[in-house]
Structures are given as structure tokens and as C-alpha cells.
């Protein structure tokens, strides 16, 4: 990442702003800017990879994706597909 920084102003809900500051502190970031930059960079890396995956493999079955999300988040799954 470049050492040169560009200032960008964003508007946040006050509760989100407060949580952002707390999260940056918990993470030991030098500043809120550093925390936000790291989070955005990670998100953009994820989105770029997802675009590459979709281009190569196509879209994922939406019902299977919803199932996987719930499973990974530890949510209760009432309709469990038949296990292999």
C-alpha cells in the first residue's frame, strides 16, 4: 500500500462511528484511519477473488449458499439436506 494518503470524508450513524472507534482500539490500530484502511483492503481482496471465482466457476446455487452461510454462522438449520 502507498505511504501517501488521501483524505476522504464519510458519514456514519453515530452508533456505528462509536463502534468503529472502539473496534479500532480493540484491534490495536494506530488510528481509526489505519483500521478502516485495513478493513477495506481485506474486503476488496475478498470481492476481487469472488469476481474471479464467479467468472471461472459461475454462480453458486443460492439455496446451498444460504445453507452454508447459516452453518458457518452457527445458526440453527431446521431443514438439513440429506448428508452424503
Amino acid at each position: 500500500m502507498s505511504g501517501k494518503k488521501e483524505r476522504i470524508t464519510v458519514s456514519l450513524d453515530p452508533d456505528v462511528a462509536a463502534e468503529l472507534k472502539a473496534a479500532a482500539e480493540r484491534a490495536g490500530a494506530a488510528s481509526v484511519s489505519e483500521y478502516v484502511e485495513g478493513a477495506l483492503d481485506a474486503r476488496m481482496v475478498r470481492e476481487q477473488w469472488l469476481a474471479r471465482w464467479r467468472a471461472a466457476a459461475g454462480d453458486v446455487d443460492p439455496e446451498a449458499l444460504a445453507y452454508a452461510r447459516r452453518a458457518l454462522l452457527g445458526e440453527r438449520i431446521d431443514q438439513h439436506p440429506q448428508a452424503s
Binding site: 471461472a56 446455487d61 458457518l72 448428508a83
Partner: protein, 134 residues
Amino acid sequence: MSGRVLTSSAIVDIATDRSVYGRAFLVAAVELGMTFPTPSTALLQAWAAVPPQARALLELFLDAPAVVVEDLDAFVAGRAGVRAHPAHQAGRFDLAAAHAVDVAITRGLAILTAEPGPLRAIDPDVEIEELPAP
């Protein structure tokens, strides 16, 4: 860390689309910012198992932000091998399964697999998330 440890059967599902659920779990993990520790021994088995036309997707899988390859060094080999001794004595030893169980216990994560049998042979109590049938 949150996520799942992958086995070769899960990786093969992802690379070949044998089941829609393998790719669904991978995409969901990337979207959610979760981690899929992937034992190097499972990778070896997957590279051996997938047909040539699926190798490009296996490469892309390895680029996924969620995927972290876990190597089998001498220390891990000793720890995982000792744990797998009873399974070996019973004739039910599988090297990649022993490695996956070790990674799962070390990371405190469940294992995502389509074939739980070899994992249960190593440790009946290891937490497993079985991929639904295709």
C-alpha cells in the same frame, strides 16, 4: 479464528462441483471473512484426485482469501502421529485425516468433509460438519 478445516473430499467437491455445497461453503467463507485452514496433505490428495480440467479451479481455490495452507512439519507429524496410533493399530490410519484432525484440534475448528469415516477413526469426538449430499 472462525471457519472450518478442509479435507481432500471437501476440496475435490469445490474443484469439481461434485456437490453444490462445497463451493457454497467456500464462497460463504470468503464473503464472511472466515478462514479455511487446509492441510497440505489434503491438498496432495486433492491434486491427485481431480481431473486435469479441474486443476485451474484448484489453483483459484488456493488463491482464496479464506484458504490458509497448514504444513506438516516434524513437530506436527509427531503430535498427529501419536494421536493416530490407535487408528493405525486398528488398520484404519489415514495420513491426511490424521493431519486434518490435528489442525482442527489445534485451531479449535470443526472439519468440513464429505467423508467423515477416516476422521472419526482418528478421533471419534472431533467436531465434523458433513457436506450435504449433492
